[in-house]
Subunit: 268 residues, 2 copies
Amino acid sequence: MKELKYKQVKTKLTIVKIGGNVINAEKALAIFLKDFASVKGLKILIHGGGKKATELASKLGFQPKMIHGRRITDQANLDVVTMVYAGLLNKKIVAQLQQYNCNALGLSGADANSIQAHKRIVKDIDYGFAGDIDKVDNTIIQSFLENKLTPVFCAITHNKKGQLLNTNADTIAAEIAVALAKTYHVELIYCFEKKGVLKDVNDDNSVMENIDSKLYKIAKDKGVIAAGMLPKLENCFYALQRGVAEISIGNPAIIVNKNQKYTRLVLA
Amino acid sequence: MKELKYKQVKTKLTIVKIGGNVINAEKALAIFLKDFASVKGLKILIHGGGKKATELASKLGFQPKMIHGRRITDQANLDVVTMVYAGLLNKKIVAQLQQYNCNALGLSGADANSIQAHKRIVKDIDYGFAGDIDKVDNTIIQSFLENKLTPVFCAITHNKKGQLLNTNADTIAAEIAVALAKTYHVELIYCFEKKGVLKDVNDDNSVMENIDSKLYKIAKDKGVIAAGMLPKLENCFYALQRGVAEISIGNPAIIVNKNQKYTRLVLA
């Protein structure tokens, strides 16, 4: 009976998403990757894009197309983000993790058909080659983890019909966390340049340390939470409701040291 | 006893390398990928670079650096080949194979530490971030194959110290073939735009259908074989001597249909 009890405890899986601003700062990224490599147990990294893609597009003479503040991914911009996210950034991150003896495996959603998506349905706006996720293959990701590999996902998926798609990295992190929550005790950590979700966007120390779904709704309605944070928090509560055990938002250092302020998300 | 005998027969593994000229022609590449997806059994694809990297470098204002006709990989050019080979080309190839129900997994040598290399030692010429291979991890590649995945390698490796390295795709194909020949009956096929090794470089039908190591030496000494083919043939005989069962050189169609001229390499 005792043995049975032990078997029922799920293995811990840490899923970390790092945002563009961490990736932009070479030194901060190196520190983060060393920290990430030191995290014990099973882990997955998801990385955003950073300004490199915008820089490359601009050097190549493309203007990033924006409608209502949202990026439109045309063919030229899809090629750029595929080069930068899946090529330059993903492989540099993998090579650095290998240096720290973390056996990283760089992936797009097309690789091993790990994340299947569809081109966003056109309603008012055609976002171009933007992908909305249909399915994360938890079995193949689990087989990588069991093989002592650390999957490192960039923000590119595919539609299984030969088309690559640009996909929001926060959403990828949430969907992977949900898909693996059936098997693992998943802790999902969103790392970015701030210490957490701020009450006052101009005061870096005004971290909201605990946000439950009720508080989130109130803060959202009152406009206390900055607009940019809303989709991230939507992703968090979506994931919590679907079995992800723990979710935090904070600066990259929290992956190794939680003796500092950060935001912890909980269901109400 | 009969059962034992069956067990001793090695499983077939097909390893295909496609060159830059196939990759440059979008339609030819699509036909090749459909054919490759249809190849039965275990398989691995290795792809070269093509002119996209040179085009991108030129658009960004870098001159490809050449010494004695050989490319020098400085930091800017390494970034370009990492973007193009590991990003754009690798992911487009993987997405297309997925479309044809081939469960492709795009890899650089840094991914899963599958191919470890060192920066080429400087003698007369500093080739920059060019990698010479030290070790292919046959165990991890085998685990992907056993998991019904088809590894798709681009020509980027790493040194396990955080540095990516540009590495010759023909050599990668040969080293992977050698590493897996211990376990599998490996057929290695080099595909390029010609029908095979030509006796007369100006006559596309002058295919040398069988080349053994003796004939190779004679043809090389007499200058019958074009200089560009020599490293490819060196790779072939290196691989044959180390247990690779079959090696062919020809146009991409030979992977599904050998009822045409192509070059077969054999030991003397």
